[in-house]
C-alpha cells in the first residue's frame, strides 16, 4: 500500500470482535493508521472507544473472548521485511513479539511478575530472541536499567517488583519493551497511573528512546495535553471507529469532526472562574447498540437525517487530514463562531 520505507506499522481496516454469550460485538471497526519511524502517532479517545483493544490486537495479546475479525497489521522489521501479523502463524508472531514490536502496558503496578527479580524479567527478551546466556543477559539487563534511569542498577537488578515505586516500575516496563530496539513501540496509557511529575519524566524518556533507537511510537491515551505535547499525528477514535485522523496541529487547530471539537471544548484551558465547564452531553453508545449511520449521531450538535441513514466515510479535509463526518466544514465554522464568543 505505502512504499515509504519509514512506515514501520501499517494497520489497515482492522476489525476486532468480542464474543459474549449472547452476541458478537464489534469493538474495533475497520481502523486504519500508520506509524512512522522516529515519529509518534497517538490513538485518542474515551475509555471503551477501542483504542486499547487496537493496541492489544496489534501486540497479539487480546483477551481470549476477543478476536481479530478482519483487516491487516503489516509490521516492518529492522531489515525492512514486512509481515502481516493477522495472517502470520503463532510462531512467526512470537519471533516478532518483543524483537520488532514492543508494548508498554498501562498497569505498571501489576504487569511485572511478582515472583521474579526484575533482572530476570529484563533479561528475558535477550534470552528468548538472542539466546544469550544467563550471565550475558543479566549484563544487558543492568545496562538497560541504567539506560532508563534506574539508580544503582548493579544491586537493584536482583530486587523484586514490589520493591520499586510506580514510576520506577513503569521505567522497567519501558526497558523491557525497548530491550531489542523494536521498530514499533506501543505505549498503552503509559502514564495514567503515575504522578504528574513522574509522567513528564516518563514521556521524555520515551521520546529520547524513540530518537535513539529510531522507533515508531504508537501512544494510546485519553489525555489531549499529552497528545498535543508528544504526538506528530493523532487518530481520534469513537465507539470503535476512527472519526478523524491527521497531523496534531491540523486536527487540534481546525477539527474536522464534531467529536474532536467536543473533546477540545471540554478542556478547561480558557474557562474563567465561575464559568461552567463545557462537556459533551450524553455517553458513548454501548457496543451492542451502535447506531447504523454515523456512530456519533446521538451526541452530535450538527446531526441531521443524512447522518442517521448513512455512515460517513473518511474524506480528506486538508492534506493528510481526514474526517469521517458528512459536514466537516460546518465543524470548523461553528468553531470560528465559538472563538468569537470567547474573546468577546
Amino acid at each position: 500500500m505505502n512504499a515509504d520505507p519509514r512506515v514501520a506499522l501499517d494497520v489497515d481496516g482492522l476489525d476486532v470482535d468480542i464474543h459474549t454469550p449472547h452476541a458478537v460485538l464489534r469493538a474495533v471497526d475497520s481502523v486504519s493508521f500508520q506509524a512512522v519511524r522516529g515519529r509518534t502517532v497517538a490513538l485518542l479517545g474515551e475509555s471503551g472507544c477501542g483504542k486499547s483493544m487496537t493496541a492489544t490486537a496489534i501486540a497479539g495479546v487480546l483477551d481470549p473472548v476477543a478476536e481479530v475479525a478482519g483487516g491487516s497489521i503489516r509490521l516492518s522489521d529492522g531489515a525492512g521485511r514486512v509481515t502481516d501479523l493477522v495472517s502470520a502463524s503463532a510462531k512467526e508472531r512470537r519471533e516478532l513479539a518483543g524483537k520488532d514490536l514492543g508494548i508498554v502496558f498501562q498497569d505498571a503496578l501489576t504487569a511485572l511478575n511478582p515472583v521474579y527479580p526484575v533482572g530476570t524479567q529484563l533479561a528475558e527478551p535477550f534470552r528468548i530472541h538472542r539466546g544469550l546466556s544467563k550471565r550475558a543477559a543479566r549484563r544487558e539487563a543492568i545496562e538497560l536499567m541504567r539506560r532508563v534511569g534506574i539508580p544503582e542498577p548493579e544491586t537493584r537488578v536482583d530486587a523484586y517488583p514490589h520493591q520499586f515505586s510506580g514510576g520506577m516500575r513503569q521505567r522497567l516496563l519501558i526497558a523491557i519493551a525497548v530491550a531489542l530496539s523494536p521498530s514499533v513501540l506501543l505505549a498503552d496509557e503509559p502514564t495514567t497511573a503515575l504522578d504528574v511529575t513522574v509522567q513528564a519524566q516518563i514521556m521524555s524518556l520515551l521520546r529520547d528512546l524513540r530518537e535513539e533507537r529510531d522507533m515508531a511510537v504508537v501512544l494510546i491515551t485519553h489525555d489531549l495535553a499529552l497528545v498535543f505535547e508528544q504526538a506528530d499525528r493523532v487518530v481520534v477514535m469513537y465507539a470503535g471507529n476512527v472519526v478523524e485522523e491527521g497531523p496534531v496541529d491540523d486536527v487540534f487547530g481546525s477539527p474536522g469532526h464534531p467529536y474532536t471539537r467536543g473533546l477540545l471544548d471540554s478542556v478547561p484551558v480558557s474557562a474563567e472562574r465561575g464559568a461552567s465547564l463545557s462537556s459533551i452531553g450524553g455517553a458513548p453508545p454501548e457496543l451492542s447498540a451502535i447506531p447504523s449511520g454515523c456512530v456519533y449521531q446521538d451526541r452530535c450538535p450538527l446531526v441531521r437525517s443524512l447522518c442517521r441513514e448513512q455512515r460517513p466515510t473518511a474524506r480528506e479535509v486538508s492534506p493528510g487530514h481526514r474526517s469521517a463526518c458528512h459536514f466537516p466544514d460546518e465543524v470548523s465554522s461553528e468553531e470560528a463562531n465559538r472563538s468569537v464568543e470567547v474573546t468577546r
Binding site: 492489544t56 497479539g60 502496558f105 511478575n113 515472583v115 527479580p117 527478551p125 528468548i128 514490589h162 520493591q163
Partner: protein, 309 residues
Amino acid sequence: MLTFLRKRATTSLLPLVAVLLGVFLLARMTGDPAALYLPENATEAQKETFRTANGLDLPVWQQLLDYLGGVVRLDFGTSLRTGEPAAEMALRAFPATLQLALTTMVLAVVISIVIGSYAAYRPNSLADRLASFMSMTAASVPDFWLAITGVWIFAVMLGVLPTSGVDASMLSWVLPIATLLFRPAGVLTQVVRGAMVSALSAPYVRLARSKGADSRRVVTDHALRNAAAPALTVAGDLAVGLVNGAVVVESIFGWPGIGKLMIDSILQRDFAVLQAAVLLTAVTIFVLNVVIDLCYALLDARVRDKALV
C-alpha cells in the same frame, strides 16, 4: 530464619500439650486394661497387682504428671502388650506410613499440575470439562469405599493384586496408594486449575507473551510459579489429611504403619503406645507446616520481605 523457627516452635508448644492431654484423658475413658490383659476369671487381687505394677491405680492427675515428667525426659513409657518402649514401636511403624503418604503426595502433585495446567490453558474446552468432572468425582469418593471396591475387583475378582499386607513386590503398594490418591489428586487438580486460570489471565502473563515467550515458558515459568502458593496451602492440608487418613487405609490393607498401630493400641488399651504414636504424628504435622511456610517464603519475595520486618 532461626527467629522464625523459634517463634513457630513456641506457638506450637501449646497445641502439642493440648493434644497430649486430650489423648491421655480420652484413652483412659476406653476402659480398664486390667480387664483386657488378665484372664476373665482373674481375681480382684490379681487385677490390683496388675494395676499397681503399671501405675494404673494412681489417680488420673498423678498418672498424667508422671507421664508428662517422662515425656520431658524423652521417656514415653512401655507397651502393656509387648513390654517394649512405646517410642520405639511408634518410630518403627512410622516409615511405612511416611512412604505411603509421600508417594501418594508426589503422585497427586504431579497429576494435578499436569491435568490442572492443561485444563486451565484451554478453559471451558472439552478437555477442561472432562478434567473438572473427573477431579470432582475423585475428590468426592470416600476412601473406605474405594478400598473395598478396589480389593473386590483387583484382588478377589481378577486376582492380580494382593488383598493386604506388604510383600517384596511393589504390587502390594498399588491398592493402598490408589485409595489414598483419589481425594488429594482430585482436590489439588481443581485448585491448580483455578489458580492457573487466574494466573494465565494476569497482566504479567500478557507481558511475557508480548516478549515473545512460547507457551511452555508462559505456563511453567510465569503462571505456574504464581499458582504455586494457593496450591501449596491446599497441598499442605491434604498432606496432613493423608497422615490422618492412613488410619483407615492401613487398617483395611493391614499396612504396618502408624495408623494401624494407633487402632491396635486403642483396641488393646495400650495407652503408652497410643500416646507415643499420636505425639509423633502431631510433631510430623508441625514440621510439615513449618516446611510449607518456608516454601511460601522461597516462592515469593513479598512473603520474605514481610517475614523480615
